[in-house]
Amino acid sequence: MLRVEHLTKIYPNGTVALKDVSFEVPDGEFLVVIGLSGSGKSTLLRCINRLIEPTEGKIYWNDVDITAASPAQLRQIRRQIGMIFQQFNLVRRSKVITNVLAGRLGYVNPWLSLLGIWPAEERRRALAALERVGIADKAYERADALSGGQQQRVGIARALMQEPRLILADEPVASLDPVLAHSILQYLEELNKEGVTVICSLHFLDLVHRYATRVIALKQGVKVFEGKPQEIDRQRFKEIYGEEAQEVRAASL
């Protein structure tokens, strides 16, 4: 259970990215965050694992206050929270398997990991994770030799290494060809069905309808909608995205 209470983020330059946002995510939910670019979706996701420090408000993960955690506690919490990025955030020059193993850094002996020594068990785990996303044959290639869709699957494999209880996905398909969107989101859906809570920001409304169990919408840092995906009709859509917005369906591309 994730509980966000009165979360506010004001950047040093004065930009108010989030304003008094509160919501709860029960275990096993697939929560989709929608909103225009700059509406605060990325800030919200990064406040949850404190890649960005919230200005005000509290975030509880299974009743542990993330916002008050010490650096060591924070690492303990972070390693249970997988994160998937729009730009994949792989080390492009490193091998695929090294990128995947890095997801395990929060668990392994820090000194051995600094020497680049990984137990055989962890290597097997990494290959299994790559197997699961269907690119085990690319394990020893350089990450930048892979296509965008394959790179994002490496990103998912890296998150799998964390044995996550929660996955934060920041526009995981926005940098990909729309036809690849389902192939990526299906992995998240699969994990969700195994009991992992997913919080994912998305752009395409039909993807929202297809995958979300619940939706929240942000507009200029303020939560303007929370409810079932079916409740977002054309009217709501215009409210969230503004009058000029035109819905684009991924399926039509």
Binding site: N49, L51, R75, Q76, I77, R78, R79, Q80, I81, G82, M83, F85, Q87, F88, N89, L90, V91, R92, R93, S94, T98, A102, G103, R104, L105, G106, Y107, P110, S113, L114, G116, G155, R158, M161, Q162, L168
Partner: protein, 380 residues
């Protein structure tokens, strides 16, 4: 804004041009430019250039033998020498002479077209150079000599006329200068290698402290960041030559002072370059690994290091190349190595040997330049 009247604009340009001309004229005089002298002293320059263009590279080992004939002064004071009838021999026109008398000396069957030193072996065992002659194509020469009073026979022992023959034996051998230059060149290359290595070991960790994206977090981080950054900037203000002068004064002339001077200068330069490389990395992987629960060191090891290694290697090799070049110069002010050798040869007017050193520098610098470019092309 109103447009300036044309007259005012022209006046202003004219004044500006006049000012530039005055300043340039002043610098001309201040630096003592003397073009006629450039031509007048051309022979001096030409001598130097000729010496540099004929570096001392090889020598032939020579066998020296001495041919001599007894020559009593005055006549009758001792038995006259009898020259051999064949082989290299000295044939004075008279068998003996009174002090002050001149005579002709002929030499036969000496090595053709070579230089022969004719000298007197005095009765007391000392030598006195008489004349330096050049043999003709048949190996013969003639010279006019004077029997000087110092040659007077003592205790029945007469003076002796001698000629030294030098006959090359064996093949060409590297000259002393070439061997010295090779040794000093190695010292220089190793100076550069050692100082670059030490500097890398120190600059690499420091560069992370001077990279804003790694260090500049919180009060302590900012403090460390500004401290290490100013450290690099302050050292960078000192030229390698100044640094070498200080260390040579402190530790005496030699490669040790040179290595230290180069190391300090390289730390500052590499530290600054490294920290800029670290600042320009893609922050995405850092964010991703932080999100995984990796600690600061792990993040550096897995997200930063792979991104910076090629650039680091490229800069290290480039600096080795630069350091070879600089160490030739700092040797000149006492840093040891080839530069020191060069300064000693030039101060001792041994220009051919200096030429050997100059050629070695040109070749090594060119080679390093080429090698570093090749390696860097491959790494990046």
């Amino acid at each position: 804004m109103q447009a300036m009247p044309a007259l005012q604009r022209i006046t202003r340009s004219a004044l500006l041009i006049a000012l530039v001309i005055v300043v340039l004229g002043f610098s001309w005089r201040a630096t003592g430019i003397d073009l006629p002298r450039l031509l007048r002293d051309l022979p001096k320059g030409a001598t130097l250039v000729r010496a540099f263009l004929t570096p001392d590279l090889f020598t032939r080992e020579v066998e020296t033998s001495v041919i001599g004939v007894d020559f009593p002064v005055p006549c009758g004071s001792a038995p006259q020498g009898v020259p051999p009838t064949n082989g290299p021999r000295l044939l004075p026109s008279v068998g003996c002479a009174a002090p002050g008398e001149t005579f002709t000396l002929m030499g036969k069957e000496f090595p053709a077209s070579s230089e022969i030193l004719v000298r007197w072996l005095l009765p007391d065992g000392r030598t006195l150079n008489a004349v330096r002659v050049r043999t003709d194509a048949q190996g013969a020469f003639t010279a006019t000599l004077q029997a000087r009073p110092i040659l007077t026979t003592q205790d029945g022992k007469s003076a002796r006329l001698e000629a030294e023959i030098q006959r090359p034996v064996g093949g060409l051998k590297p000259s002393q200068a070439l061997r010295d230059v090779a040794r000093e060149m190695f010292v220089t290359i190793f100076m550069a290698l050692l100082s670059t290595t030490i500097a890398t070991l120190i600059a690499a960790p420091l560069s992370f402290l001077a990279a804003s994206n790694i260090t500049r977090r919180g009060c302590l981080g900012s403090g460390v960041y500004y401290l290490s950054r100013s450290f690099f900037n302050i050292i960078r203000a000192y030229d390698p030559l100044v640094m070498a002068t200080i260390f040579a004064f402190w530790l005496g002339y030699g490669p040790f002072a040179g290595v230290l001077a180069l190391t300090v200068v390289t730390i500052a330069s590499l530290g600054k370059l490294f920290s800029e490389v670290v600042e320009n990395i893609d922050p995405g992987p850092l964010e991703a690994l932080q999100a995984c629960g990796a600690n600061r060191l792990q993040t550096v090891r897995y997200a930063v290091v792979p991104q910076i290694v090629p650039d680091f290697i490229s800069f290290i090799i480039y600096h080795w190349d630069i350091n070879v070049r600089i160490s030739t110069i700092i040797g000149y002010v006492g840093g040891g190595g080839i530069g020191f050798y060069l300064s000693q040869r030039i101060n001792g007017f041994e220009y051919n040997q200096a030429g050997t050193a100059l050629w070695a520098i040109v070749i090594v610098v060119w080679l390093m330049d080429f090698l570093s470019a090749e390696v860097r092309k491959r790494v990046v």
